[in-house]
């Protein structure tokens, strides 16, 4: 069947809901929280209209939402949930249960600032605070990537038996309407066949235990296997991203999407929706003669160390844009990227710009101002400071 996309104008949240339907997810368990709620409302609407036979489990908290999703996944079902901010924090314990039991759950987290002070706006600290839970993390730049990300993530998760968090920006994607190319159901089915679990709780001829005790004699190997699964996932991510591109025209074979790297003195590096604005600004800056490019980190876990090294080899500087912060240290992507390069010998000048926390608008003029600062740093050959709270009111 020839691929003819179905183009719709939908919000990021609706893009996620359509992807869940097209992925033929079998169980959704969720609890509402702004700005995630319209994902599960749309899924509920699909069910009410008879467009899908998803089993929907309403629960009383996010902790239970993940617990029910884990239960469903352990029976062999394709399972989904969605949350944001405090809801994700409440799930924290259960996130370890999902990855430790090697269940290929896909969840959408709508990046929202952690309270207090109370905020419903975009900020990556909620998802990045779950860095060490053993989940893979994919950051979407736009609504199309939310849709594509959910579909690819099921295939990747079910290949390596590790759950994936697909992350989108509060409001900037979740409630913004944009054109999304959706894939006809038959072609999604060809790309993403039904899940074939290795073990299920409901295979009574071959009974298994999920979440059993491991003594000091065994626990260590369980951890190693999860670590190795993340390492192995890098190839799977690239292969699935390439296959997706061949089938549907949008290539995701790189874990870091780059632009103008070969011809850039420095690059902007960041994740998520702010990179759309960066791309627009980089085109304008290049028209003005700036030798600048961009590096959009799509996958934060597993961390694309090798791809980062290749970028570091060819540029003099990296301006990291962190819409997040690790208190007592620095922006989280900056911290990770510096650490990843330490032993490679590739040490471009790296500066961390803390931007957009709690939904502060990050604009094209902001990118230009940072470019100006970064250009001066490279000309001088040294940093003015390592971390800058860019928007701070003075």
């Amino acid at each position: 069947m020839e691929y003819k996309p179905i183009r719709k104008v939908v919000s990021g949240n609706y893009a996620a809901a359509y992807a869940v339907k097209h992925a033929r997810v079998q169980v959704v368990a969720a609890y509402p929280i702004t700005p995630q709620t319209s994902i599960i409302e749309k899924i509920a609407e699909f069910i009410a209209n008879g467009e899908t036979d998803i089993q929907y489990v309403p629960v009383e908290s996010e902790h239970s939402a993940m617990a029910a999703t884990i239960g469903a996944s352990a029976t062999g079902a394709r399972a989904f949930t969605a949350t944001a901010a405090q809801g994700l924090a409440l799930m924290h314990e259960m996130l370890h249960w999902a990855s430790g039991a090697r269940l290929p759950i896909v969840m959408v987290d709508v990046n929202r600032a952690m309270a207090p002070p109370w905020s419903v706006w975009d900020d990556q600290t909620d998802s990045l605070a779950q860095r060490d839970t053993g989940w893979m993390q994919f950051y979407a730049e736009n609504n199309q990537e939310v849709y594509d990300g959910v579909l690819m993530s099921y295939k990747i998760a079910e290949t390596v038996n590790v759950p994936v968090m697909v992350v989108e920006s509060a409001f900037i994607l979740s409630h913004t309407y944009d054109v999304v190319e959706m894939i006809p159901q038959e072609l999604v089915d060809e790309f993403l066949p039904p899940r074939k679990p290795l073990y299920t709780l409901t295979d009574f001829d071959n009974p298994v235990s999920v979440g059993a005790l491991a003594t000091p004699n065994d626990y260590y190997e369980f951890r190693y296997k999860l670590a190795k699964a993340h390492e192995d996932a890098k190839k799977v991510i690239k292969d699935v991203g390439k296959e997706f591109g061949e089938r549907f025209g949008r290539d995701y074979s790189s874990m870091i999407e780059t632009g103008y790297i070969d011809d850039a003195d420095f690059v902007f590096m960041g994740m998520g929706s702010l990179m759309g604005t960066v791309k627009q600004a980089v085109d304008l800056l290049r028209d003005e003669g700036y030798r600048v490019g961009y590096a959009k980190v799509r996958w934060f876990r597993p961390f694309p160390k090798e791809e980062l090294e290749a970028i570091a080899e060819s540029v003099k500087g990296i301006a990291v844009l962190d819409r997040n912060f690790s208190f007592g240290q620095e922006g989280i992507l900056f911290n990770e990227a510096k650490g990843a390069l330490y032993n490679t010998g590739e040490r471009p000048l790296m500066k961390d710009y803390i931007v957009g926390l709690g939904g502060r608008d990050f604009t094209v003029p902001d990118v230009k101002a940072i470019a100006e600062n970064m250009k001066a740093i490279i000309e001088k050959g040294e940093l003015d400071r390592e971390v800058e709270w860019y928007h701070l009111k003075r």
Binding site: L173, H175, T176, V179, T277, V364
Partner: protein, 185 residues
């Protein structure tokens, strides 16, 4: 790229208007983006919504600071909000009002290149029985800007509101299209 900013009050449907305009432009083959100002919306409070329309995919993810077109759904906002903030020099302002051109211009901080006035509240009350002006004002947008043709707007309205509600709202847009008065300034 054309950037449009809507000013309304919570409950008047400014966000829906931005979405319908985007859907209508999409039907004409354009790339679009529509979003609310991510504030704390409450019924009656000032609300802002945005639409971008372009021939190419739209990558920028920020609010609109220098609109080409400003649409005001509630005339009382002219007294409290600087609706022309950042308006481009060749910008268009469309206002739902029963007031005259002179009275409206007096309240605008910046004189637009083109001003379009329509009493969308009366049209909405007559046709819908409610003072919800988001669909009626889109008729004025079609007439004043020519960025999207009225039939596409009506089609997008009917997709947003089903059945007779859709028909009535589409009629409100048409009525508004016919009654909008345009002033080149």
């Amino acid at each position: 790229m054309i950037e449009i900013r809507f000013h309304g009050r919570g409950g008047q449907g400014a966000v829906t208007a931005a979405n319908i305009l985007a859907s209508a432009a999409f039907k004409e083959g354009k790339y679009v983006q529509a979003f609310p100002f991510f504030g704390v919306e409450r019924r009656g409070a000032p609300v802002t919504a945005f639409t971008r329309i372009d021939d190419r995919p739209i990558r920028i993810k920020t609010q609109i600071y220098e609109p080409d077109i400003v649409v005001v759904l509630d005339p009382s906002l002219l007294d409290t909000v600087d609706v022309t903030a950042g308006l481009k020099d060749n910008g268009i302002v469309i206002v739902n009002t029963e007031k005259s051109k002179e009275e409206v211009l007096e309240k605008l901080k910046k004189k637009p290149a083109k001003l379009a006035l329509v009493d969308a509240t009366t049209i909405a009350l007559e046709i819908l029985g409610l003072p919800i002006t988001n669909t009626a004002i889109l008729g004025a947008v079609a007439k004043a800007t020519r960025i999207v043709d009225l039939p596409y707007i009506q089609e997008a309205i009917k997709e947003t509101f089903s059945g007779s509600l859709g028909e009535k709202n589409a009629k409100a847009a048409e009525e508004s299209f016919n009654k909008t008065v345009i002033y080149e300034l």
